[in-house]
Symmetry: C2
Subunit: 386 residues, 2 copies
């Protein structure tokens, strides 16, 4: 397979249906094959939109084999009208694709509190040709972008089999997952039983999409889906490894393309009481506006990492047991000389900054990803709807 081909049994339609402007804003991906399975994890937001509610219902009721993704409008906080609009989108797609509405999952991303231009969208959907040749992976990734600056795709082979795992994702603000994050669709032609797929998907998502944060804000629309068509038998452990490879790559791509981001930040916490504490402390560091701005300014102000650990306020964290490093070079507790600060400043000018903290308590560890906080984030978000 080439990087841009979909796995066996998959077909993608990418189009503009006039959600906001003339750019691609509509993607339908469907799977056909001997053993179709689907898994989804969604935002825990109490303002989750109709797309999320409908997708949850369809997954609970059966095995959807396709997903519809609308970008440039989240269709959230629109009350009963928004629910009706979401169903209308699926009804028109189902009629055109000659499937049942509950064969489809639905994801939507963009501004909150604005209704779809549903009449013109419905007309545009009715005019689509599901039989046209499939769009490739990159085109599908492009079709789900909002303020993303690059398409996010990742591909891995399942070791010991002919199966492939391909993923697309979009970020890029309002990224702090609780259960899932942003929109990601992973496709595979592996044969994986539905129950195995759900368990594997949750485990892998916990280590990937649930470990990225751009701005601590949690979207009302976050959706991560895996669809498999079932053409190739696989070892489950090999499939899980390939899925983790793809989702890790997408996670890093989302962090690196965070709104306004110029630097990918990877934070690893070791020596924690347990994984939960390690992840919480790591997120405190990667989410700290003062750490993010220090990285942005290549300011060797490592004291802000100490601050971000300290604010976690766990009674078993003690400043005299903690160690803090940047890219493997310890900055605390050793006394910092001017030469070390100059080296640290140089290191911070790279495209990727690794921050390591050891709490000296036990063996818990976690890695999370984020990005620096820049003027670009302010500009993008101070002027998004207007």
């Amino acid at each position: 397979v080439t990087t841009d081909a979909l796995p066996t049994g998959f077909h993608a339609t990418v189009a503009n249906i006039g959600v906001k402007d003339g750019s691609d804003d509509f993607v339908v991906i469907h799977a056909e094959g001997p053993h179709v399975a689907a898994s989804g994890v969604f935002t825990q937001s109490r303002f989750a939109g109709p797309s999320v509610h409908i997708s949850r219902q369809h997954l609970a009721a059966g095995t959807p084999s396709a997903i519809v993704i609308v970008s440039k409008n989240a269709n959230v906080a629109n009350g009963a009208d928004g629910v009706a609009d979401a169903h209308a989108v699926l009804d028109h797609v189902a009629a055109r694709w000659n499937r049942r509405p509950d064969d489809f999952l639905l994801a939507s991303t963009g501004v909150i509190g604005r209704r779809y231009p549903i009449a013109s969208m419905a007309s545009a959907i009715d005019a689509l040709d599901p039989q046209a040749p499939s769009a490739d992976l990159r085109a599908a990734a492009h079709g789900i972008m909002t303020t993303d600056t690059v398409e996010k795709v990742a591909v891995a082979h399942v070791e010991g089999s002919d199966a492939v795992v391909c993923g697309i994702a979009k970020g890029v603000g309002m990224i702090e997952p609780d259960m899932a994050t942003m929109i990601a669709v992973v496709m595979s032609d592996a044969h994986v039983a539905q129950s195995d797929l759900s368990a594997i998907h949750r485990r892998v998502t916990d280590l990937t999409f649930n470990c990225v944060s751009v701005d601590t804000d949690t979207s009302t629309s976050d959706t991560a889906v895996v669809l498999t068509s079932g053409y190739h038998d696989v070892e489950l452990s090999s499939f899980e490894a390939a899925l983790q490879q793809v989702q890790t790559a997408l996670t890093k791509a989302i962090a690196a393309d965070g709104e306004g981001a110029e630097t990918l930040i990877e934070v690893t916490v070791t020596g924690a009481r347990d994984t939960e504490q390690a992840r919480r402390v790591a997120k405190s560091i990667v989410n700290s506006p003062l750490v993010k701005t220090a990285v942005h300014g290549a300011d060797p102000n490592w004291g802000r990492v100490a601050m971000a650990i300290g604010k976690c306020n766990d009674s078993d964290i003690h400043d005299d047991r903690c160690r803090i490093s940047f890219g493997g070079t310890e900055v605390y507790p050793r006394t910092i000389g001017v030469d070390v600060l100059a080296d640290l400043e140089k290191y911070l000018r790279g495209d990727m900054v690794s921050i390591e903290a050891d709490l000296g308590i036990a063996d818990g560890s976690a890695t999370v990803w984020g990005c620096d906080l820049t003027d670009g984030y302010i500009r993008i978000n101070a002027d998004y709807t207007t």
Copy 2:
């Protein structure tokens, strides 16, 4: 009393002792009177500096009657050397002021992880004249500034008495209190028993300094202190009202002068299950980078407030029971017309923006304060130590 006078029994020394540069960086405030009392609340950070630890010890052991404030260097994360430096500062002050070291509280603010230039600081302290005429309130407020752009002072009379309550504070980044926040010193010539003062101080701080957030980062040095000299008898309820008036004014001043801030944001949540939930939801709104940038850009993107409520993830929050208003004008659930959005955009251009959310659950309510997120915050914090 004029605005700039200290209460009866108070004396302030303001000086430059060469902590970082030639600006004022050293303030000593002491109280003398018939009934001196003191109360302090401090950061909950696990990386709290020696100043905080020493102040806690001195409050636990007796009744300090003075406070030393060092600005431009927090003296945090410096290990045993930092502890020794903090004690050295107090030893030199105590010798010069002819008091015991444990008569003093100590607060320090500025960069983390750099040692004091202790030798030159000690020489400068030894050369100070404690008998010189007292500095006024504004000079004391100026002496504790770091990146603050204005002095923060507030004064209130205690109704029904001759007592006055005067406060000074500094912000302005790393502001998300857990117990206390930033550095604030409130002075009064009221006569309040030590135990009453502590209880009143905690209650008032919970409604004021604990309700401000600039960037969710919690300082390692946050300290709020009340000193009273005891010249005038007061009704405790009147004293508490005056203290709340002063601390509320300082809280708003800190939020309005948040690093890079151009707009003060006041968020009031009503209809919550209880006060805890109301405050948590209000903080989720006021801390959301996307809400803060929308206010900065005067972008009428009220959906981000819905997002910030939704991410609180309480099972008793339901989107169909919530109401969201800006400055008293409801934007959700009513359908927004273009004219309303235009009015909202105009409202957002003001110096102060009020956001109100009602959860429709019960009667819990809370008000918190914050500020917009601007290019200025990025610039200040990307280049702070260098």
